[in-house]
């Protein structure tokens, strides 16, 4: 069992000025997930008649991309290749002070406390993250199209991106390049994605720039902090795709 000091960003709404507030939680089991520890804190706050800390969460098994949190200076906490919901309290020690902050980016404004608005990612997807399909009733089984194993694997690896935004949070420039590159790659590598290939990359980058994300400077922080370990090779692919599309289209 652990007793912890939590320093948490509190902000009433998007327009309010926020600040770090300190809380104490006691008798935290090392078997708890990080989010369960926050549940304990919120229960305590509710019992005291106070406003609970708002944070995003959904599946709590590392696949939905809802949970976020910048924990002790790193997105999704100190462990590699996991989301916050998969972070366990055994990572911490009794008496630790834990900083918990929202993703920080102009393109991800805070809605309340630790919840940020990530709809910028949705708008990027809407601008190009789709493929043309035959709707005449004769839809072809995707498995009927031969695809080299390596391409299928690379596309699948890119498609494991859950869109949580840790890449933006980790990047010193709040750049969304890892996310956009994963989404461009997963479609550009497959025959189904070839139809809109050039428009997709041009439109998605244009939307990314409009949203106010920073420019990539290849620090590599995004890939290191990514819970799905999306590779920097995707960013290189995005750079290639964009260069080719802008030269030929």
């Amino acid at each position: 069992m652990m007793n912890l000091t939590l320093k948490i960003w509190r902000q009433a709404d998007a327009k309010s000025q926020g600040k770090m507030e300190t809380f104490k939680v006691t008798e935290i089991s090392e078997h708890m997930s990080f989010l369960e520890m926050l549940d304990v804190l919120n229960e305590q706050l509710i019992n005291e008649g106070k406003d609970p800390v708002a944070f995003d969460h959904d599946c709590r098994e590392g696949i939905c991309g809802a949970c976020s949190l910048y924990i002790n200076g790193q997105p999704h906490g100190p462990d590699r290749a996991i989301t916050t919901c998969q972070l366990h309290m055994r990572t911490f020690k009794d008496g630790d002070t834990i900083y918990i902050e929202p993703w920080r980016a102009k393109a991800f404004p805070v809605i309340k406390d630790l919840v940020v608005d990530r709809t910028a990612f949705d708008r990027i997807m809407q601008s190009g993250g789709y493929v043309s399909v035959n709707t005449s009733g004769n839809t072809i089984d995707a498995n009927a199209i031969p695809i080299p194993k390596e391409d299928a694997d690379n596309a699948f690896d890119a498609a494991t991106c859950i869109g949580c935004g840790a890449c933006v949070a980790a990047c010193k420039n709040a750049s969304a390049m890892l996310f956009v590159s994963a989404k461009v790659s997963q479609l550009a590598l497959l025959p189904q994605g070839k139809v809109e290939r050039q428009d997709r990359v041009l439109n998605m980058v244009e939307q990314m720039d409009k949203e106010g994300f920073g420019n990539c400077t290849n620090t590599g922080a995004c890939s290191i902090e990514c819970p799905k370990e999306i590779s920097l090779e995707n960013i290189a692919r995005l750079n290639r795709e964009y260069l080719m599309a802008s030269l030929t289209k």
């Binding site: 910048y70 709040a174 920073g214």
Partner: protein, 226 residues
């Protein structure tokens, strides 16, 4: 619409130009270093060799043309890097983290390219004021071969301790800048391949240590021996 502005205004375009001008500057450094290494010859040979080199660099037409490309590249790389990329990127995160452990996910040089670049730019201004400006716009004594005696100016400069120190420190800064910049330029151009990337990384790291080190040895040699 997107396609038309893609190579000029987009976030990626700024990077492509950054990368191309950066790689051109890397190429230039090799040419520059090759000439400078004549300064390490015996005192009797170094003077004529270095003066002949400066004469060649300022009169050979192809070099003259590339020198304008060089001035443009330095200015573009600096303006694009400092005024646009670094400033825009700061604006993309208006509120900073109270606790941020960036050292766990990226190397220091990669996060400080703007600061390193600014220091290098200040160095280039100082460097050009002392050598390039003097050569172009002031009367310089002639050497026995009737060439402007740049060797004499170089030796006089590096007999000053503080001046030698500024050069050595600047070359260390350049090394850090190149350590990230060289490799990064290839990634920006989309060159990332499991076969070639390790080679690019190796060449980049070798380059970023050896080139600045050789540049730095020259002022130290002159300061200690001449």
């Amino acid at each position: 619409m997107a396609a038309r502005s893609a190579l000029l205004k987009s976030s990626l375009a700024k990077k492509y130009w950054m990368s191309l001008t950066g790689l051109f500057l890397c190429l230039f450094l090799i040419v520059h270093l090759a000439g400078n290494l004549t300064l390490l010859k015996d005192a009797a040979d170094a003077g004529p060799a270095f003066n002949a080199y400066t004469e060649f660099m300022t009169s050979f037409p192809l070099i003259k043309i590339s020198s304008y490309l060089l001035y443009f590249s330095i200015l573009f790389h600096a303006i694009d890097g400092i005024l646009i990329l670094t400033r825009e990127n700061k604006k993309a995160r208006p509120v900073n983290y109270a606790s941020n452990k960036a050292e766990r996910n990226s190397i220091w040089a990669s996060r400080n390219m703007g600061v390193l670049g600014t220091a290098i730019f200040i160095f280039i201004v100082l460097h050009m004021a002392n050598f390039w400006f003097k050569y172009k716009f002031t009367d310089i004594a002639m050497d026995p071969g009737d060439l402007p005696d740049m060797y004499g100016i170089v030796v006089a400069s590096f007999q000053e301790g503080w001046y030698t120190a500024v050069y050595v420190v600047s070359m260390i800064v350049l090394g850090f800048h190149l350590w990230h910049g060289f490799e990064s330029a290839f990634q920006t151009l989309g060159i990332n391949h499991h076969k070639y990337s390790p080679i690019i990384q190796g060449v980049g790291r070798f380059y970023s240590v050896v080139v600045p080190a050789l540049f730095a040895i020259i002022p130290i040699y002159i300061f200690l021996n001449l």
